[in-house]
């Protein structure tokens, strides 16, 4: 029971990482994904890595965690369950009306997202709760039964229930749930008071409908995978990641699949936070660049920043999640010249097929991709990639970039640099969203690139943002799988109760304390159900506060321990400081109110202790495999050393310009950059220029 396994399913590859607690060795395996039945690749990867380690069996696995995009893909490809909605009379169309805005200001061809539940399956029942939680109109149970029958006859597989003010008074929803269970015993059921007991009816409705839509799909997938793994002899309870970066057992995930929409990218961030904290870099910005897009996020004091929601394909999804911002900028992003003569890159992508021109499958008129620009400049190996497994057609890349070069009147290499500068500007803009727009200065952070294309563009991106340090982790191509070995079990609990904090501090402190006590009871029940030992239990309290009159709340951490007037005063000071940091002012005379109180329950999981190597001195010549001509802006082609990542040792130094190659990525050092290998085998780059 000494093996810890993380499996991350991506679009192209399924990454498997195994940590052997006995030997301290880390093993990585990539197998092709099987999108029709993702579980096949998982079992295959598990078999292969056990074989690779040397004849180990699934029974030796003491920990198994999985990151999946099954739920997200079902949402994006509209392959969810047939879903019905039961709602308050008068609000059947809220799902389509949303917040009333059209999707794009000027593009009249843009459409609103299609509702996951069609109009004829959205049914109203007579009932109404008031804003103070009192009941204006009691629930008409006969109507509920009639609605349930209509949904049953329509073949509905999943039902979302969302009533006004259910976060204040859930009884009507609960009663509807009971009736639906009687009338539609097989259907997946989602109550908004359970999925998201928070205010703003449209966002709550959209979230609960999303949960209902993917519920059966995710439940079926996890149940099947659980069975398969058990059949292979896996004894450990399999866990799956949520958008908050924590893991929960498969069974628990089946009820609240909406909490898994960012399952995949979130563990990459958690892994980076863990690695970098161990390496002495607690403040970082992660930069995960793949083929079609880049995900960026911010980690402060070793803790990834979280947010309460996002829009997925135009639909709001409110659940606790890591604050990951995605931009359509990847290696496959296409460059073009627009009608005004400007060079644009992305968000359109060449995808996996035909892929960049240099892969040899694109047409003779194809637009160049970012990867083609890298081939032209020789920042990427112009002969082959993936340790020699994939040949590269440099001439095709030059021809594609050349077609654009002609139109903007620049040389081929200058145009390739232009493509990289534009895509870098797009990525910098994404990083500004999660840093400067949240009041954090990126210059105080370490840039941590991963994904196939991250390390290739990191040095240039760091320069664009004024960042001084880049840290490339040991396995940038399997970062999410690695992160699965470094995460904890996490669950979130919340309540919305709008109340003033400044009127009567003693009394309010008591009321807030009582709310958290309720949430702590729920958390305790959850810990018990998860069989998490007392010693490993942790609770993190957050209050979302605003000045009375505002409508956007600021999350403020609330220390553990009894909440009294003095503790409350401390919370208010933190709030004022955050308000100043975010908006440049605070308002000491204005009353402050709490909106939502949150509790995150954390069950500590013993962490994989990654191997540490002895320092070997500065000389990196043992890793030198040769030189290649790389094009530097303003200088032309220059011969630069090429190093093999696997042969770099802690303490080794490499000075830019230079290239470090490994199987699934390439790290580029620009002139002035100085790379040092730390004793966790991270490449730490002091950015020059």
């Amino acid at each position: 029971m000494t093996l810890r396994i993380g499996v991350d399913t991506g679009g192209t590859f399924t990454d498997v990482v195994a940590f052997d607690e006995e030997t301290g060795a880390l093993h990585v395996r990539k197998v092709s994904s099987t999108p029709q039945d993702p579980g096949l690749a998982i079992v295959e990867g598990l078999d292969q890595i056990l074989e690779q380690i040397g004849g180990r069996s699934p029974a030796d696995v003491g920990y198994f965690a999985h990151g999946t995009t099954v739920g997200t893909n079902a949402l994006l490809t509209h392959r969810g369950a047939r879903t019905g909605v039961v709602t308050t009379r008068g609000f059947r169309d809220l799902l389509e009306l949303g917040r009333g805005r059209r999707p794009r200001l000027y593009d009249l061809q843009a459409d609103k997202p299609a509702p996951f539940a069609p109009r004829d399956l959205r049914l109203e029942v007579t009932e109404r709760v008031r804003h103070d939680g009192s009941i204006e109109t009691p629930l008409d149970e006969d109507e509920v039964r009639a609605a349930a029958r209509t949904l049953r006859e329509a073949g509905v597989e999943s039902v979302a229930v969302c009533l006004l003010y259910s976060f204040l008074r859930p009884e009507h929803e609960q009663r509807i749930g009971e009736i639906l269970r009687e009338e539609l015993p097989g259907a997946h059921l989602s109550l908004s008071s359970r999925v998201l007991p928070e205010f703003r009816e449209y966002e709550r409705l959209s979230t609960v409908v999303t949960n209902a839509y993917v519920g059966p799909v995710v439940a079926e997938y996890l149940a099947k995978l659980r069975q398969r793994l058990a059949e292979r002899g896996l004894a450990a309870v399999p866990h799956v990641t949520q958008s908050n970066g924590g893991i929960i057992p498969f069974e628990a995930a089946e009820e609240l699949p909406v909490r898994m929409v960012l399952s995949g990218p979130s563990t990459g961030v958690v892994g980076a936070a863990g690695l970098c904290a161990a390496a002495g870099h607690p403040d970082l910005i992660t930069f995960d660049m793949g083929g079609t897009s880049s995900d960026v996020s911010l980690v402060r004091n070793g803790v990834p920043k979280v947010t309460t929601g996002m829009e997925l394909d135009g639909r709001p999804v409110r659940t606790p999640m890591l604050d990951i911002h995605t931009v359509g900028a990847g290696g496959g992003s296409l460059a073009r010249v627009d009608a005004g003569g400007h060079l644009k890159v992305g968000p359109a992508s060449a995808g996996a097929d035909p892929g960049p021109a240099c892969y040899g499958k694109a047409s003779d008129t194809a637009e160049p991709t970012v990867t083609d620009a890298d081939i032209v400049l020789h920042t990427l190996n112009p002969v082959h990639l993936l340790d020699g497994r994939m040949p590269v057609d440099e001439q095709a890349a030059r021809a594609a970039v050349g077609r654009i070069a002609e139109r903007i009147g620049l040389g081929v290499e200058e145009t390739a640099h232009g493509i990289l500068r534009v895509v870098t500007a797009n990525m910098a803009r994404a990083i500004r969203v999660i840093s400067v727009q949240r009041g954090y200065d990126p210059r105080d952070y370490t840039l941590v690139p991963f994904g196939g294309a991250g390390p290739l563009h990191a040095s240039q991106l760091a320069r664009e943002l004024g960042m001084r340090t880049v840290l490339v982790p040991p396995t940038p191509g399997a970062q999410s799988a690695l992160g699965l070995l470094m995460t904890d079990v996490r669950a979130d609990f919340s309540r919305t109760r709008i109340q003033r904090l400044t009127d009567d501090p003693e009394r309010t402190a008591g009321q807030l304390g009582a709310l958290w006590a309720e949430l702590e009871d729920e958390a305790a029940a959850w810990f018990d159900a998860e069989r998490i030992p007392e010693a490993d239990r942790g609770l993190e309290r957050t209050a979302e506060l605003r000045y009375a009159g505002q409508n956007h709340e600021i999350p403020v951490p609330v220390p553990a321990g009894p909440l009294d007037a003095a503790a409350l005063a401390g919370v208010l000071e933190t709030f004022a400081a955050e308000h100043r940091r975010l908006y440049g002012y605070d308002a000491p005379d204005e009353p402050v109110e709490a909106v939502t109180v949150r509790l995150q329950a954390v069950g500590a999981v013993p962490q994989a202790k990654l191997p540490r190597e002895e320092p070997a001195g500065e000389d990196a010549s043992a890793s030198l495999t040769g030189h290649r001509e790389m094009h530097l802006q303003g200088e032309g082609f220059v011969s630069v050393p090429v190093h093999r990542r696997a042969d770099l040792r802690p303490g080794n130094r490499v000075t830019g310009p230079a290239v470090v190659e490994q199987m699934d990525t390439t790290t580029v050092l620009l002139p002035g950059d100085v790379l040092t290998v730390d004793d966790h085998s991270n490449l730490v780059i002091a950015v020059g220029g």
């Binding site: 008068g90 609000f91 009306l97 009192s134 644009k344």
Partner: protein, 577 residues
């Protein structure tokens, strides 16, 4: 530009990079404003915008979240400030306030614009401006602008970082909800301060000369793109007319008209022959007309053209002074968006033969504004609640129109019911699409919206038949005893004002598509009728505002059977299909 020493053709890649940086800057301004504001209209409904201008007042970037009409209150503001204040008297840390359409570059009085000079190397280099629609000045007359609220020409609102308190107090004294106003102005100041910081960081990195040079190049780039897109529209002169009505004009209908000439890569809009300005709030000042035309051009030639002054160069607009589309003092302008929406319809209607695949049939034709105001006994304060309700969006060549959305010159969010009822003595009983309101066609027009609001008896505390649940926090502990006896009779009711259009006509279809349904108001029994858009509602009264659907596109007989089947199943079939 002040600097002409540098060559006029900077690196196009750098210009693209700078464009991205300036867009980030204005988006961040807008986001700061929304998040720090107090009034529902800004914080939830996002009725605001932010922009960056060059030293001479040409727009360089505008936040995308804005309603296009907001451009009409921004494009004139810098020149209005420069007309009154010599450049040498303008200092870092100064901020100017204006809202007046006739002297301050505004387009109606609730849109308060704060504009802040940005200095680099000690010289005036750019201007940061933001606009917020302050939901104040409720329950007003609209015979002329003096009835509509306080008029503010450009005045110095902050001097070298300090608010000019005399001016601030004068403005607040003229507002109905001064506490909200104070906080909203503070949020607006924070947004401009942020722009000054961010611009400074860019100057630090690129230098002032490069900033100026790339800004000029950015406008040239936009102009080239706009011209290239216009050149694809077939040359010719295209004309269109439409009927206009609104509650204030009662039975009077006006005829709006337009002639557009496409000549190579330029457009000429000729509004000759439109009605004279009216004694009602629906007049447009020149900048409102310009903003409306620029919006429509963008939708028709290339929706991705950057929002900056380069777009304006190939477009010429002529409109008779003193007409409803180019009014002069003292015409009232508060409800100008009703007319703006119809100008967009005119432009789409005129150019339908030229670019049939890009135009839409008529949208709901209004920016339906519903204002409730009065004394809230339960919360002990005066309230003004403004909501604009969307409607049908016109059918497109290949797709149905969007149902129940904000169209054309506006794109504000609605106020969540759970936020509204917590804040005001009102209850929303229905918020739904109107089946059958979208005009039939090969593609169907978008459906209108019905929003039903009941006035609560705010004297009765938590209200009639409710049973307190115990754990609910009171939304607002403060009670003002002085309000408890604020009169009886009419003064005790809730003032209801409605701005809309298409009550008497229907949004037209295109190429055989049928019109959408008209807008209307429905009142509960015993409620006083709405006269010229106004009534007084008593506790228990219920008012439903029903907005128009949109026109269909193409022959209804050609509708895809699968789409027709869905209409039937979902109960959205147009009655005359």
């Amino acid at each position: 530009m002040n600097d002409t020493a540098t060559p006029p053709s900077p690196d196009p890649v750098l210009v693209e990079v700078m464009g991205a940086a300036l867009s980030s800057l204005v988006e961040e301004m807008g986001e700061t404003l929304v998040r720090a504001a107090y009034s529902s209209n800004i914080k939830e409904r996002r009725d605001c915008t932010a922009g960056l201008f060059d030293a001479d007042g040409h727009m360089l970037a505008q936040a995308e979240q804005a309603s296009p009409i907001h451009l009409g209150s921004l494009i004139g503001v810098v020149s209005a400030v420069l007309e009154r204040f010599p450049v040498e008297d303008i200092r870092p840390g100064d901020t100017f306030l204006s809202n007046d359409p006739y002297s301050g570059g505004g387009s109606h009085l609730p849109d308060m614009v704060l504009v802040t000079p940005v200095f680099a190397d000690g010289r005036l280099t750019a201007w940061a401006a933001n606009l917020a629609h302050h939901a104040d000045f409720g329950d007003r007359g609209h015979a002329h602008i003096f009835q509509e609220g306080v008029r503010i020409p450009p005045v110095r609102f902050a001097r070298e970082g300090e608010i000019v308190d005399d001016v601030f107090q004068l403005v607040l004294t003229n507002c109905q909800v001064p506490a909200e106003r104070r906080a909203d102005f503070r949020a607006q100041l924070a947004a401009n301060r942020l722009a000054v910081t961010r611009y400074g960081e860019l100057v630090e990195r690129y230098g002032r000369a490069t900033m100026l040079e790339t800004a000029a190049a950015l406008l040239d780039y936009t102009e080239r793109r706009t011209r290239a897109a216009i050149a694809e529209v077939p040359d010719g002169t295209y004309a269109f007319t439409d009927r206009f009505d609104c509650p204030e004009l009662e039975d009077t209908e006006l005829e709006l008209r337009l002639r557009v000439t496409v000549d190579g890569d330029e457009l000429h809009f000729d509004f000759a022959g439109n009605p004279g300005q009216v004694r009602a709030s629906v007049n447009m000042v020149r900048t409102a007309l310009y903003a409306t035309v620029y919006y429509a051009v963008k939708t028709l030639v290339d929706p991705d053209i950057p929002s900056n002054a380069g777009l304006h160069r190939p477009i010429r607009i002529d409109a008779p002074l003193g007409s409803i589309v180019n009014c002069v003092e003292p015409a009232a302008v508060n409800g100008r968006t009703e007319t703006c929406q119809r100008v967009v319809d005119l432009i789409h209607g005129a150019l339908a033969p030229a670019v049939p695949e890009r135009v839409t049939a008529a949208s709901n034709g209004a920016n339906t504004g519903v204002h409730f105001s009065g004394w809230d006994h339960a919360r002990g304060r005066y309230f003004v609640y403004l909501e604009t309700i969307g409607g049908g969006s016109g059918a497109r060549a290949g797709k149905d129109g969007l149902d129940g959305v904000q169209v054309h010159v506006t794109n504000t969010s609605n106020l969540p019911v759970e936020a509204l009822e917590t804040e005001y003595p009102l209850m929303v009983e229905a918020y739904e699409l109107v089946p059958g309101s979208g005009g039939a066609g090969r593609t169907r027009g978008g459906m209108g919206i019905r929003r039903t609001v009941r006035v609560e008896d705010s004297r009765a505390g938590t209200g009639g038949k409710g049973t307190p649940s115990g754990d609910a926090g009171s939304p607002d502990g403060a009670r003002d005893a002085s309000g408890a006896d604020s009169g009886t009779g009419e003064a005790d009711g809730v003032q209801f004002w409605l701005d809309t259009s298409r009550l008497r006509s229907r949004p037209w279809g295109l190429f055989g598509g049928l019109p959408g349904s008209s807008a209307r108001v429905e009142l509960s029994e015993g409620a006083r009728p709405v006269v010229r858009g106004h009534t007084v509602l008593r506790p228990g009264d219920r008012v439903s505002v029903v907005t128009a659907g949109a026109g269909g596109y193409g022959d209804p007989a050609e509708r895809d059977p699968a789409a027709a089947e869905r209409d039937t199943r979902e109960g959205t079939t147009p009655p005359d299909a």
